[in-house]
C-alpha cells in the first residue's frame, strides 16, 4: 500500500480550487438574491414582507444538506440535467440569500428611522434615500458580519460533496477510500480549509474592532 504522495496532495489542492470557485459563485449569486431578500424584508408592502419572512423561515429552518438534495433531485425532476456544480451553486445561493438578507436587514434597520425621515424631508424618493443615505452607512456596519458569514459559506461548500461535486471534501473522501488513512487525509483537508477560513475570521474580527473603535469606552 502506497503512502500519501505528491499526487494526492495535488488532487486535494485541485479540490480546494473547486471549493473556492463554488464559494465565490455562492457569494455572488447569494449576495444578489440576498440583496433582494433584504429589500423585500424592509418593503412598505406588507405582503412582500410576509412572503420574504416565510422564505427566510423556511430556508433557515431546514438543513443545507436537504436543500442540496432538493435542488439536485428537484432539477432532475423538472427534466433539467444539471452538472453537480450548478446544482450545488443554486442550493448555496438559496441558503446564503436567506442568511445574508437577514444580516443586511439588521444593518439597514440599525441605521435609524430618523435618517429615512431626514431623507424624506429633503424630498428624496425612497430609492434615492436608500441608495444615497442608508446603504452607504449600512455597508460599513455590514462588512464584518458579511465576512464572518463568508467563513460559514466556505465551510458549507463541503456539503456539495454529497451530490458528487468534486470539491475538497469529496477529493479527501476519494483519496481516503483508496489509502484508508483517515487521520492524515482528513487532517490535511481540515488544514486546507483552515488556511482559507482562518484569515477571513481574523479579518472579520479586525474589521469589527475598527468599527467599534469609536464607540468603545476608555
Amino acid at each position: 500500500m502506497d503512502g500519501f504522495g505528491t499526487g494526492h496532495l495535488v488532487y486535494l489542492l485541485n479540490g480546494l480550487l473547486w471549493t473556492v470557485v463554488l464559494s465565490v459563485l455562492a457569494l455572488l449569486l447569494g449576495g444578489i438574491a440576498g440583496f433582494g431578500v433584504m429589500l423585500a424584508r424592509i418593503s412598505q408592502r406588507r405582503w412582500l414582507r410576509r412572503v420574504s419572512m416565510g422564505y427566510v423561515q423556511i430556508v433557515q429552518g431546514t438543513p443545507l444538506l436537504i436543500q442540496m438534495f432538493l435542488m439536485y433531485f428537484g432539477l432532475g425532476v423538472a427534466g433539467v440535467q444539471v452538472p453537480a456544480l450548478l446544482a450545488a451553486a443554486l442550493a448555496m445561493m438559496i441558503y446564503s440569500s436567506a442568511y445574508l438578507g437577514e444580516i443586511w436587514r439588521g444593518c439597514v434597520q440599525s441605521i435609524g428611522k430618523t435618517q429615512f425621515e431626514a431623507a424624506e424631508t429633503l424630498a428624496l424618493t425612497r430609492w434615492q434615500s436608500l441608495i444615497d443615505v442608508i446603504l452607504p452607512q449600512a455597508a460599513r456596519i455590514a462588512t464584518p458580519p458579511t465576512v464572518g458569514f463568508v467563513v460559514q459559506l466556505v465551510k458549507n461548500t463541503s456539503l456539495a460533496s454529497v451530490v458528487g461535486f468534486l470539491e475538497l471534501t469529496r477529493s479527501a473522501q476519494v483519496i481516503n477510500n483508496s489509502l484508508f488513512q483517515p487521520f492524515l487525509v482528513f487532517g490535511i483537508a481540515a488544514a486546507l480549509y483552515f488556511a482559507v477560513c482562518y484569515p477571513l475570521s481574523l479579518w472579520s474580527r479586525t474589521l469589527e474592532r475598527k468599527l467599534n473603535a469609536g464607540r468603545r469606552q476608555a
Binding site: 436543500q67 463541503s158 456539503l159 454529497v162
Partner: protein, 226 residues
C-alpha cells in the same frame, strides 16, 4: 414540467420518518447539554490567568470554528475506527457534535462573560462570596442570560447540522430520508416531507428554549426583556 407528485408512495413510511425525527431530537438534546458544559468550561479556560490554558482553549476553538463539520465527523469516525476504536454510530455522531458545538458555545459564552462589568465581581468579593459562588451567580449565569438569544440560534443551527451525521450512516431524519428515497424513487417528495419535519423541529426547539429561558431567568421575565 411533466412531473406528477406522488406523496402517497411515502405513506407506508410515516413510522420511519417519525423515528428519524426522534433520533434527530435525541442527538440534539444530548449535544446541546454536553456542548453547553464544554462551552462554559472552555470559556472559563479562555479567560484563565494561565497562559497555557488560554492558548489550548484558543487553539481548540479556532480549529473547530474554521473547519467544516463534515470533515470533523469523518476525521473522528473513520479516524477512530482506523486505530481500532469502534464505537456505535450514534455515539460517534454525538461525540463529533459536542466537540463542534462546544467551540461555538465557548465563543458566545465568553462574549457574555466579557460583558460582565468588573465592578460586579469586585462587589461580590467584597460581600465575601466564594470563588465558586462568584463564578456561578455573578459570571456564568448572568453571562448566559445576556447571550441567551445567540445561544438559541446556535443550537438551532446545530440541530440542522445533525443532518450531516447521515453521512456516517446514522439513522436520523436525513439518513432515514436517504433510505426511503432509494426504496421509493420518490426523492423529491421525500426531501420535501423531511424539510417540513425539520421546520417543525426548529419551531419546537425555539419554543422549548423560550420556555427554558422563562424558567431559568426570572429576572429577565420581570424586566420584560424576554
Amino acid at each position: 414540467m411533466q412531473y406528477e407528485f406522488n406523496f402517497a408512495a411515502l405513506a407506508p413510511y410515516w413510522g420511519s420518518f417519525l423515528s428519524g425525527a426522534w433520533v434527530t431530537i435525541q442527538l440534539t438534546v444530548a449535544s446541546v447539554a454536553l456542548g453547553m458544559v464544554i462551552g462554559v468550561l472552555c470559556a472559563i479556560a479562555r479567560r484563565s490567568a494561565f497562559r497555557s490554558l488560554r492558548t489550548a482553549a484558543g487553539i481548540y476553538i479556532e480549529t473547530v470554528r474554521n473547519t467544516p463539520f463534515i470533515v470533523q465527523i469523518f476525521f473522528i469516525f473513520f479516524g477512530l475506527s482506523s486505530v481500532g476504536l469502534r464505537m456505535p454510530i450514534l455515539w460517534a455522531a454525538i461525540f463529533a457534535l459536542v466537540i463542534n458545538v462546544g467551540a461555538y458555545t465557548a465563543e458566545i459564552v465568553r462574549a457574555g462573560m466579557d460583558a460582565i462589568p468588573h465592578g460586579q465581581i469586585e462587589a461580590a468579593e467584597a460581600l465575601g462570596l466564594t470563588k465558586f459562588q462568584i463564578y456561578r451567580d455573578i459570571i456564568i449565569m448572568p453571562a448566559i442570560e445576556k447571550v441567551y438569544p445567540a445561544l438559541t440560534s446556535q443550537f438551532v443551527l446545530m440541530m440542522l447540522t445533525t443532518s450531516i451525521a447521515s453521512q456516517i450512516s446514522a439513522e436520523e431524519l436525513t439518513g432515514v430520508a436517504n433510505n426511503i428515497q432509494s426504496n421509493t424513487f420518490r426523492s423529491f417528495e421525500t426531501y420535501i416531507v423531511v424539510g417540513l419535519l425539520y421546520i417543525g423541529i426548529t419551531f419546537l426547539m425555539r419554543a422549548a428554549f423560550w420556555g427554558i429561558g422563562q424558567i431559568a431567568f426570572p429576572r429577565r421575565r420581570k424586566l420584560g426583556e424576554a
